[in-house]
Amino acid sequence: MESKKSLFSRLPVISQLKKSMGLQRGMLVTGIVLTLIFLLTAALAPLIAPFGPTQRFDETQAAPSSVHLWGTTAGGYDVLSRTIWGAQTAVFVIVIAVALSIFIGVILGLLSGYLGGWLDRILVVVADAIYAFPTLLLAMVMSIALTQGSSDMWAGIFAAAISITVVFIPQYFRVIRAETIRLKAEPFVESAIVVGASTVRIMARHIFKNATRTLPLIFTLNASEAILTLAGLGFLGFGIEPSSAAEWGYDLNHAQSDATAGIWWTGVFPGAAIVMTVLGLTLLGESMNDLNDPRLRGRKKTKKNAAKKQEELVEA
């Protein structure tokens, strides 16, 4: 029981929540709440959405009513259902994209950092070259190359996820490589070398865990970027087709012409969904980042002494 509790309190997010206070705590709690709403919406989409994501209705651009709470779009989709199902698509894309890029980025980073030499040089040059491209352009190119017009739901999700992965791998690669190079010179790694541990053992047992400490932070920060990239792709028309799954970026794009005609509901809701989700994930990531750094973390004043000082002043 005791150990279980300590494991629970050592989990990311939970441990940070315990350490936080004041404004930092407020930011963290807001981030957690927004992110939880996003995740719950995605998980319970089939239950809470009144209609399916691809279900079309005859009344187009209908104002919010009792049947269509948030109205319908020009294509006859129900805005509320599209927005709820959109959360699910976003979660799929984030999870696949970040999982793939962490997996590949960490392995490449470890190898490149620890082994060094020509492998390191080639990988760094490739990563730099990828960095040099505008991310959205790169994601677009990848998306075109991958889908070639096919448009079912999973193909669309994977295409979007892989496009984002390509952009993210260099980020993870760089972080892990830098950490590995730093750790390589640490006495505990040298002590493993002196003991006679093999290269694989050193990388797996000594460097891996120490190098991946900061990943939860990058994960949350990247998740928000992944949503923006996904929405950007959808907005530009390289995302998932409306007939296969709901996607906020696409809906936002098609709401453009509505806005001038005074039809506000088609744009406001998917737009707000993007803003709220990105805001939630960013608040979560940023405040975790701050709380993990003892120098940035605020602390409570020592109560006892504050009271005592007050007393002294009164006496004087």
């Binding site: 350490k19 640490e186 006495p187 505990f188 040298e190 002590s191 493993a192 070398i193 002196v194 003991v195 006679g196 541990a197 093999s198 053992r201 047992r205 000594h206 865990k209 120490n210 602390r299 409570k300 004043k301 020592t302 006892k304 002494n305 504050a306 005592k308 000082k309 002294e312 002043l313 006496e315 004087a316």
Partner: protein, 579 residues
């Protein structure tokens, strides 16, 4: 009872802002009932509890204590440099102002004018992108001595004067130099010059010589003493080094876990310490020439045994950057280590002692001459062919905190060599780990703890257990005690000596501390700038050094005994004058 009421009166006087009052106008610094609390994740920590002492003008008071005793926190409180998480009460009075209660604006006026600080690490205390003259002038221009702004020319003139005061040659030219153009000792002189620029009555020196080599340390101590004699500056010296205290201090305040344990004049303290803690602390300080491992030896021991390491004209170069030549860290060094022998390697920073130790363990490549380790020629080093030999070489690193993987338990760390080199089963490994921990006097239950749950001394013992896990023929110990407090160092050295006697492994013991090497090593080699300047039986090298450098090194080592140190200091001066 009477003491506490007296202190309360002091505090009240200070809080009420009454000048004069209880405090004597003659003291340069008066601390009464200082308490400092830090807010941490684990709740409040009382770092300094109830510290009171005074410093008279022209007096050097040393605050000594081990890590965590609160000596640095006290020093920071004097300058109002405590972080936001700290909360302090009591009174720290400098020239009539209570530092703890003045506003930030007033505090800025007090710093530099009434009190200045000399930091531990001169290379980080100076800003690398400004000339030293600019940095000294910065303090001058921040204040308005005599009520008017200091002009640029005026500030430059004063900076040159300050550099001349601290004995920097050619100050008119050097004032325009950048910090990297000075050596470590000169940098510390510049830091002292900056502290002196406004002629403050009080200087707080936080471990001013800890980052410096012994020979440089002697110069800086001489400078500080000279400043006191010439300008009557009071100095609060924070240090853990009893030799430095014996050399410089008039009075000593001993701190332990935030409390003042003992206050006495330095002569009285060293001759007749009153408190048990002070006695234990002084007893733990290694004293050159006492407790020598080679006492009574007339010739080198263990020469009939197998030679484990033989270096012949060994050279190790570090490749230079583009356009600059390679740096020769080790230059034509020859020595042997026989089975069962403890070879002590002494030298200052940059002498190449660590490089030699690392080369023997295959962590550095040799570039010339020959280095034969257990029959393996290191010049043709290949990790794959050397790996089987690693089970016969143990290594103990300098920093016990960094040499353990923070994510593995102590037991897993100690078991690692066993898992790699033997076929022992799980329970057998656990049993052996337990035995190893017992042998270094750690309870077997510590195997389940993580490195951060152990103290520095315990970690270094666990590190020794790991080094000895496979009963190696050779153990390389690279400054194994320099990160530890004196009392802990004494215990670890004693343990090392016992285990070495019992198991009879050969050891290369690397240290900058002559007294420590003398306790363990029968044969001692002295390195200077990559060259072996002298080798010999420990007590002969320490007692009757032949090479000039060794003479200088031993003469500049302060011993923890004021009377003896005064004599040694005179001898050291004579040696320098003779050169």
């Amino acid at each position: 009872m009477s003491r506490s009421t007296e202190n309360a009166a002091k505090v009240n006087a200070a809080v009420a802002g009454v000048p004069g009052g209880e405090k004597s106008p003659r003291s340069a610094l008066q601390i009464a009932d200082l308490k400092v609390t830090f807010a941490t994740d684990q709740g409040d920590v009382l770092a300094v509890k109830d510290v009171s002492f005074t410093v008279a003008p022209g007096e050097i008071v040393a605050i000594v204590g081990e890590s965590g005793s609160g000596k640095t926190v006290t020093a920071k409180a004097i300058l109002g440099l405590l972080p936001e998480t700290a909360d302090s009460s009591g009174a720290v009075i400098i020239s009539g102002n209570d530092v703890l209660s003045v506003s930030a604006q007033e505090m800025r006026q007090i710093r530099g004018r009434d009190v200045a600080m000399v930091f531990q690490e001169p290379s980080t205390a100076l800003n690398p992108v400004h000339t030293v003259g600019w940095q000294i002038a910065e303090g001058l221009r921040a204040h308005r001595p005599e009520g008017k702004r200091v002009g640029k020319k005026e500030a430059r003139k004063l900076a040159i004067e300050a550099l001349a005061k601290v004995g920097i040659p050619e100050p008119e030219k050097r004032v325009d130099y950048y910090p990297h153009q000075f050596s470590g000792g000169q940098k510390q002189r510049v830091v002292i010059a900056a502290a002196l620029a406004l002629n403050p009555g009080l200087i707080v020196a936080d471990e001013p010589t800890t980052a410096l080599d012994v020979t440089v340390q002697a110069e800086i101590l001489e400078l500080l003493r000279d400043l006191r004699d010439r300008y009557g500056t009071s100095i609060v010296l924070i240090t853990h080094n009893m030799g430095v205290v014996a050399d410089l201090a008039d009075r000593v305040v001993v701190m332990y876990q935030g409390d003042v344990v003992e206050k006495a004049s330095s002569k009285v303290l060293f001759e007749a310490p009153q408190q048990d803690y002070t006695k234990a602390l002084l007893a733990a300080v290694p004293h050159l020439g006492r407790n020598s491992a080679s006492a009574g030896f007339t010739e080198r021991a263990f020469q009939d045994k197998e030679v484990l390491v033989r270096a012949t004209d060994l050279e190790i170069e570090y490749p230079g950057r583009l356009g600059s030549p390679a740096f020769k860290a080790v230059d034509k060094v020859s020595f042997t280590i026989s089975a069962g022998e403890v070879f002590g390697l002494v030298g200052e920073s940059g002498s190449g002692k660590t490089t030699i130790g690392r080369a023997i363990a295959g962590l550095n490549r040799t570039t010339g001459g020959s280095l034969n380790v257990l029959g393996y020629e290191m010049l043709n080093y290949k990790e794959r062919t050397f790996r089987p030999l690693r089970k016969d070489i143990g290594f103990v690193f300098q920093d016990p905190a960094a040499s353990f993987n923070p994510y593995l338990s102590i037991g897993e760390c100690v078991a690692e060599p066993l898992l790699i080199h033997t076929d022992l089963s799980g329970p057998a490994v656990t049993k052996r780990v337990g035995e190893l921990l017992e042998s270094v006097q750690l309870p077997g239950a510590y195997a389940k703890r993580f490195p951060h749950e152990l103290s520095g001394g315990q970690r270094q013992r666990a590190s020794l257990a790991r080094g000895l896990a496979l009963s190696p023929k050779l153990l390389i110990a690279d400054e194994p005690t320099s990160a530890l407090d004196v009392s802990v160092q004494a215990k670890v050295l004693e343990l090392f000596r016992e285990i070495q006697n019992e198991l009879g492994f050969a050891a290369l013991f690397i240290s900058h501390d002559l007294a420590v090497v003398d306790i363990l090593a029968q044969w001692v080699g002295v390195l200077y700038k990559g060259k072996m300047v002298e080798q010999g039986i420990g007590n002969q090298v320490m007692g009757n050094p032949q090479a000039d450098y060794t003479k200088r090194l031993i003469a500049s080592l302060p011993v923890p005994d004021p009377a003896e140190q005064a004599k040694r200091r005179a001898a050291h001066q004579a040696l320098l004058a003779a050169k």
